[in-house]
């Protein structure tokens, strides 16, 4: 059977492979190559070695957006996960309307980033208007505005994952803890949290990478204003490509650095996750 199957490989993998080449492999390899060249289009590149990479760290806007993004990712990861876990913890208890509330919290997830950006622009500019200011007044306003938006969007998604994790804990474990005289907080810290560790792993991974990769919401809400100070990494790279001629090579080198950052986070996360997970 296996031999016939192998003979049919072209049919099963061919279409995906061709599209994968066009949509990923070729652009990726070309992208790595171009990061070492000076170019304005793909066809007129000249090799410059690591020059572009030196340009990346000489660019003040990039270094700023790197720290700005790191702070953003850390703050959103903590707030989203704590809030999502708390909501999930309460919603697994049986009370009227629990299912309806779940649906409400999840809803913002389906709305796209661009639309979300303008929804929050209305709300935040309305609020800040009371003090005659707007979201683009300073990078700090932009920062907390995007944090609020991101939390609103993602708490429901992470909540759903936490609910699934909490529901997979066998009821007897909690009952026996109660019988042994454990208090509510002891049960929470010593039994529930260790057992939902896989969910915590997945959710922190998703929120960190989402924070680092955020683009649409940033573009719609502040577009980097004032003077590129509220630019997250993805928008900074975009603007290097499309708003500054002559810096395409630097833009591509920034993208490679960005990839390395995301990959390192993924790797560390994976390592930590494996060491922390507890079997039920």
């Amino acid at each position: 059977m296996k031999r016939t199957l192998i003979r049919w490989g072209w049919l099963f993998t061919g279409p995906t492979l061709i599209a994968f080449m066009i949509g990923f492999v070729v652009p990726f390899v070309l992208g790595v190559y171009l990061s070492f060249t000076r170019f304005t289009t793909v066809t007129n590149s000249t090799w410059v070695g690591f020059d572009n990479y030196l340009g990346v760290f000489a660019d003040g806007t990039f270094v700023h957006s790197l720290w700005y993004t790191a702070a953003f990712a850390i703050v959103t990861t903590v707030v989203i996960n704590v809030a999502a876990f708390a909501v999930a913890y309460m919603l697994v208890k049986a009370f009227r309307g629990a299912n309806l509330f779940r649906s409400v919290f999840f809803m913002p997830n389906l709305i796209g980033g661009i639309v979300l950006g303008y929804i929050w622009m209305l709300l935040l500019n309305g609020l800040l208007g009371i003090w005659a200011r707007s979201i683009t007044f300073s990078a700090t306003y932009g920062f907390w505005g995007m944090v609020a938006l991101m939390c609103w969007q993602q708490i429901g998604y992470m909540m759903v994952i936490y609910i699934a994790g909490l529901q997979s804990i066998p009821g007897e474990l909690i009952e026996s803890a109660e019988m042994d005289g454990a208090s509510r907080s002891q049960t929470l810290w010593n039994i529930i949290i260790p057992l939902v560790m896989p969910s915590i792993t997945v959710c922190t991974f998703l929120t960190i990478t989402n924070g680092f990769k955020m683009f649409d919401q940033n573009l719609a809400l502040t577009n980097g204003a004032p003077s590129r100070l509220s630019e997250l990494l993805a928008l900074n790279i975009y603007n290097t490509f499309y708003a500054r001629t002559g810096f395409e090579g630097v833009g591509q080198a920034k993208a490679v650095v960005f990839l390395l950052i995301v990959a390192v986070i993924a790797l560390i996360q994976n390592r930590l996750a494996r060491s922390k997970e507890t079997q039920a």
């Binding site: 296996k2 016939t4 049986a94 309307g97 999840f106 209305l122 994952i161 683009f215 960005f258």
Partner: protein
């Protein structure tokens, strides 16, 4: 899990929190019926005799953005790409697991790499290549999306295929089925839950994706809904807030309908995707 002591109290608390949570959406709906000057000056008040403009924001927004054509292209791109992704990657994933050759392993590892690579990495070169190959139309985008979205789909599908017992497929082979019939008549029906999971995740991504279609599509002829919304912003921050509110409401309606219709699948799809991912 443990039962709460005051069920009614929890219901009241969460009712209040839920209403607050939906407030941003309600605010957009309220403002979509107000004249554009009043949206910036008094966003939190309800429309009254002076500020109410009926459907004017909607009709102007639709005219400015050619909204219904964007809606159509969004639908064509999302459904076509999702269908292609589901068909092709489920076949590939099954073949990778069952054939298990060196080629299959290499392919799988490259698909995994696709999972970590942010779009910015291929942004410039992909838009050039799309243009070079003449794929900058909604149908060309099906191929681009199949390519860039393949990683996640293959990853979830292979995880699922590994849990299918081999005996069922062997029985089909003994009954005289070739690989193609085995896949479509035996394996694919078993894979249905995974197909729904991947379908949900892909549709959520495809429908809302902004940058990839923006950079690859020929924008003179085709726009998607996120692109149409962003176009309302115009040069240097001048936004017709009235038209914007109308379009935001129209952009949210399909999403809310999709959610109401397939809520259960969406929630379980997200959970299944998270466990595998």
């Amino acid at each position: 899990m443990n039962k709460p002591k005051h069920p009614l109290l929890w219901t009241i608390v969460f009712t209040i929190v839920s209403i607050a949570y939906m407030y941003p959406i309600v605010l957009v709906i309220i403002n979509s019926f107000k004249g554009k000057v009043f949206i910036s000056s008094e966003p939190f008040s309800l429309p009254d005799a002076e500020t109410f403009v009926g459907w004017e924001n909607y009709t102007r927004g639709v005219a400015l953005t050619d909204f219904f054509s964007s809606f159509g292209w969004s639908l064509v791109i999302t459904l076509g790409s999702a269908a292609l992704i589901l068909l092709c990657t489920s076949m590939t994933a099954w073949w990778i697991v069952r054939a298990d050759t060196r080629y299959a392993k290499t392919l799988y590892t490259t698909f995994l790499l696709n999972l970590v690579v942010p779009f910015q990495m291929v942004m410039f070169t992909l838009s050039w290549l799309t243009d070079f190959l003449g794929l900058g139309n909604p149908f060309g985008l099906w191929i681009i999306y199949l390519g860039f979205g393949a990683g996640l789909a293959v990853f979830i599908f292979t995880g699922f295929v590994k849990s299918i017992p081999l005996e069922i497929e062997e029985a089909a082979t003994i009954d005289g089925c070739g690989p193609v019939r085995t896949f479509f008549q035996v394996v694919l029906p078993i894979m249905k839950p995974a197909v729904i999971t991947v379908g949900i995740l892909e549709v959520m991504w495809l429908w809302n994706d902004y940058l990839l279609p923006y950079l690859t599509l020929d924008l003179k002829h085709y726009k998607t809904i996120p692109i149409a919304v962003q176009y309302l912003k115009g040069g240097y921050g001048s936004i017709d807030m009235g038209a914007m509110m109308g379009i935001l409401v129209l952009a949210m309606i399909p999403v809310i309908v999709f959610y109401l219709v397939s809520q259960r699948h969406i929630i379980s799809g997200v959970v299944a995707g998270a466990v595998k991912g």
